[in-house]
Symmetry: C2
Subunit: 358 residues, 2 copies
């Protein structure tokens, strides 16, 4: 892998990840970009014991541009985009409209009980999987999927070293119906200045389980799932299954068979294997409906500094698709009470996924 | 108020709530309804320490029927609906496709660690606010809004007395973009067999706050909010405000100024006042966009049996609308990490709401 680091015209970092032997990436960003005024602040919700991030500059962000204005395509035929080169394999750059940004100053006088505030001082990056605007992750070759994973590893290592970062979250939102504002195949990386609420809760369960049994909670759950009819794909290094208590009508968890804290700890064989297993999972998922369905793919990594031994790297893929023309919505019971109702049994989902002819 | 209780042809209960002097409700349901096979089971998610409900019979439920097939309109001109009478004021009936139902038997042999199961034995009711198909709650008169509240009080009292019920949740999902499958103005009531996850978390915060200060957390937060520029509507009995740490671009919390556990404890003056305050809040909310926007309105009531003194009845109204043509989505950061990003500052929302000319 060849890593080429450069800067965009407004100072943001852009990094090309290429297979060995690719041509040098030397193009320069010559755009005239309007300045964005950043304001990223976090506020404490004392009832739910959670921090909420406010990023009001994002209201003006790019929204579903036509394909010929896509900012994630390479720069070609004089049309200047976020990527200066006229081609790329995988490229990562800082989001122009980040939810979390640098080190936003907070006036200490505004941080008064019960209205506590803190800076939203993290980082938001965009990961483009291919220069081809019209495909999705499921269409990548195993070699390209592996290159994307290598880029994730690189970014996780580098972002984890930043003093303000407590958790690195790699994810992909895909599909207009779940709010994706750009169609070009891409994911994102959020580096949060705190351990996020859902991770905190699962780590508390893992802490209780370790104290009670001496074992890792996620390793125990994985072993139990491997013995069920909910397994979808399994090889020497990875297991993909529909979890016993899935919240969404389509939900698949992908675990390495060996407990690691985050993607940086995966070995060579695990990395190669992941590319194959994940592509099969995505193709089976879309195959259930004979067309691409919307999804969120979310890497759960251990926090950077604490509770590394409690975590267990895994990927959770969820989709609201519950029938060819129907979505499940996050409505009253889920949103206000956190009480998920799922109309589809996990065993039925697993059977449908296994039954897809690839 | 006149309360008339009857049964639908399949045995479900239907209750008319009418103002005094309304004509007797004597019509009989003569439909030939196909049988629904119920299967409502809850499964335990050991990582998040939450129960998920599975209701697979709901996959066949009615989905966005045309207005002339609306099952919530009264029975007129020979078209038989869920409501046998040819008119009604407020009517409540058991959902034909409930997420939680009666007492579903569980085979104890299937309840084995780590895959714990329990029956989804609660109740789901539909509350129709008016026979008029084409309006919304915001269009009701104060007298009708008060009658709806009286129906909520009646149902909360009765459902709370059921031995399997631990929490009564009154709510409304409104708008196709958040997944509402029927347009007729209506809300729902879920009677859960457990204290829901989000309520459990806020009660834990309230328990910690009470131990540390001797005071109720929500009462303290309300008092603090009342001193800010986030108050939208306030009278002697109620305060509506945009909370300091709002998750959604439109979010309004409505609290009685006196701490009560649930709607049954509201006195006459508070009930009359609520109808006026809530209608003003809804009209201001829609007024910001000069048109009706999608929303979830969720009553947070104390559990039926435990922690009554920790709770504080309030209504939370949330909308994903973040601009005239843009919605906020529940995507990767929110769904997978529980990390909410809001592009709109609460103070800006409150100012916009106060600025609406009614």
């Amino acid at each position: 892998m060849t890593v080429t680091r450069t800067s965009l015209v407004d100072g943001r970092t852009l990094i090309y990840f290429d297979s060995d032997g690719a041509k040098p990436r030397t193009a320069v960003d010559v755009r005239d970009l309007p300045e964005v005024i950043f304001d990223s602040t976090m506020r404490y919700d004392a009832a739910l014991d959670e921090w909420i991030t406010y990023a009001s500059h994002r209201q003006t962000r790019t929204f579903l541009p036509p394909a010929d204005e896509c900012p994630l395509c390479p720069t070609r035929d004089g049309r200047l985009t976020e990527v200066p080169d006229d081609d790329y394999e995988v490229v990562v750059f800082e989001n122009r409209f980040p939810s979390l940004f640098g080190d936003v100053p907070i006036d200490p006088a505004t941080d008064v009980e019960p209205f506590r505030v803190r800076p939203g001082n993290g980082s938001c990056e965009v990961v483009c999987y291919t220069a081809d605007h019209d495909v999705s992750f499921a269409d990548l070759t195993p070699a390209r999927a592996r290159l994307v994973l290598d880029a994730w590893v690189h970014r996780t290592a580098e972002l984890s070293a930043l003093p303000q970062v407590e958790q690195v979250f790699i994810f992909e939102n895909r599909g207009e119906s779940i709010g994706v504002t750009l169609h070009h195949p891409h994911g994102q990386i959020y580096a949060y200045p705190y351990v996020t609420p859902r991770t905190r809760r699962t780590l508390q369960s893992a802490r209780d389980h370790l104290a009670a049994t001496g074992r890792n909670l996620f390793a125990d759950l994985l072993a139990a799932e491997q013995a069920t009819n909910r397994v979808v794909v399994r090889d020497e290094h990875w297991t993909a299954f529909v979890p016993f208590a899935a919240r969404w009508p389509m939900e698949i968890h992908v675990y390495p068979n060996r407990q690691v804290a985050d993607v940086t700890e995966l070995d060579e064989a695990e990395r190669d294997s992941f590319a194959r297993v994940y592509l099969e999972v995505l193709r089976r998922m879309h195959g259930v409906y004979d067309e691409e369905i919307p999804y969120i793919a979310a890497w759960h990594q251990a926090p950077v500094r604490v509770d590394r031994e409690l975590g267990y790297l895994h990927l959770e893929i969820t989709s609201p698709q519950r029938a060819p023309d129907k979505l499940k919505y996050f409505a009253g019971s889920e949103s206000a009470m956190g009480a998920f109702i799922n109309d589809v049994l996990p065993e039925a989902t697993a059977e449908a996924l296994r039954g897809v002819q690839l």
